[in-house]
Every structure is written in structure tokens, then in C-alpha cells.
Symmetry: C2
């Protein structure tokens, strides 16, 4: 019996890595710390940008910046186990987390994470 | 012959006041000065609000505030001669312009402007 309300990560799709209890604890901590840092960055950038406002257009530019950052952050920080290697791959590529942060994850996940980070780096360089 | 691209204010609707050249000059100056003051207010409020940001929620509150202010200002400052008595009525009600600013407008317009300002004040008090 399957329930439509069952969370996705309880019934991993074929080929998706399963996450052990200790891996989940690591993932949660890394995810939360990265999100916290990114939000701190937005707070800092908002204060700096606001302080430099000189004309009305600067205000609407700040509004646009905030809207884009909110959408980007909402999209990027997707804590579903089916998405986590992508999330960490992107954060690794952006330099928002380091490989050391991921110590304790199994090789199958580290491989996926590094692979996406490398792909994104090459994609940008191209 | 009417053209779909003819500006509305060149062909005033029935019962709409016409604006003399000197009235148009007064209207433009009052309108521009009020808009400039309101945009200065937004700039000031944005800087103050940004300086008081303490947590991420404050950032998204600022974004929301800016979006609402932008929509409100775009809607309020409608420089069509068919709308100007409404625009000035609202600005008078909000205390953003004074009756003295409107010196030089004909009585038909002053009456409409005061009437709307009074209506809005009573509407709010109700």
C-alpha cells in the first residue's frame, strides 16, 4: 500500500542513494550552516546596498536584487534526499561548502556531488 | 475621425475639466515635486529599515515593503489630465501636498480635489 502523502525520501526511487542516519545528520548540519551563511550574506549585502542608495532607481534595483535572491535561495535549498547531492554539488561549485564539510558521507554520494560541481565549473568556463 | 493613438488628454471626455496652459504648468510642478518627495521618503525609509535588519525575515519584509511601495507609487502618480484631480485629491488627503500648492488652478478643479480629499478622510474615519 502506498499513500499519496508519504514523503518522497521514505521510498527512494531506483538508482537514488539511500541516506544512513549518520549521513542524514551530516547533511542536515551542512545544509543548515550553508543556508545560514547565505542568508547572512544577503543581510550584509542589503545593508551595504541600501547605504549606497543615491537615487530612486537604486531603490528599485535593490528590490529586484532581493526578489531574485529570494527565488534563487528558495530554489537552491531543497532538502529532499532525492535532491541533496545536487544541492551539495551546486554549493560545492559555488564555494559555499568545502569537501571537508562532507566528511562522513559515503563515496557514492561524494562522487555524485563532486561530479556535479565539476560539471557546473566546466559549464561556466565554456 | 478619431485615432486610437490619440492621447486621452487631447480629447477630454464630456464633463471633464479642461486644463489651461498655466494650470498645466502648475499641475506638472506640483505633481513632480510630490513624486520627488515621496521617492525621497522611500529612499530614507529603505536605508533606515535596512540598517535595522537583524534576521533573514527582516530582509524579505523589506523586499515586500519595496514591492508594495513601487506598485502604490506607480498607481498613484498617474499624469493624465483625466485623472489629475483624483491624483491631487489623494495627495491632499495624504498631506503630501497643501491647498497652497494648488493656487492658480480654477475653482472647478479645486472643488473636485477638495471633495475627493474630504471623501477619503471620512472614508478612513468610518
Amino acid at each position: 500500500m502506498s499513500s499519496p502523502s508519504a514523503p518522497q525520501d521514505s521510498y527512494p526511487y531506483q538508482n537514488e542513494p539511500t541516506w544512513s542516519k549518520s549521513e542524514k545528520a551530516i547533511a542536515r548540519a551542512v545544509f543548515d550552516a550553508a543556508l545560514k551563511r547565505e542568508l547572512q550574506d544577503v543581510m550584509q549585502e542589503t545593508k551595504q546596498t541600501a547605504n549606497q542608495i543615491k537615487e530612486p532607481a537604486d531603490v528599485w534595483e535593490l528590490e529586484h536584487y532581493l526578489t531574485e535572491r529570494r527565488k534563487e535561495i528558495n530554489h537552491k535549498y531543497d532538502y529532499r534526499y532525492s535532491q541533496l547531492t545536487h544541492v551539495f554539488g551546486k554549493l560545492l561549485y559555488e564555494g559555499r561548502i568545502s569537501e571537508e564539510d562532507l566528511n562522513g558521507l559515503r563515496d557514492d554520494k561524494l562522487k555524485s556531488i563532486r561530479s556535479l560541481a565539476k560539471f557546473l565549473a566546466e559549464d561556466t568556463a565554456a
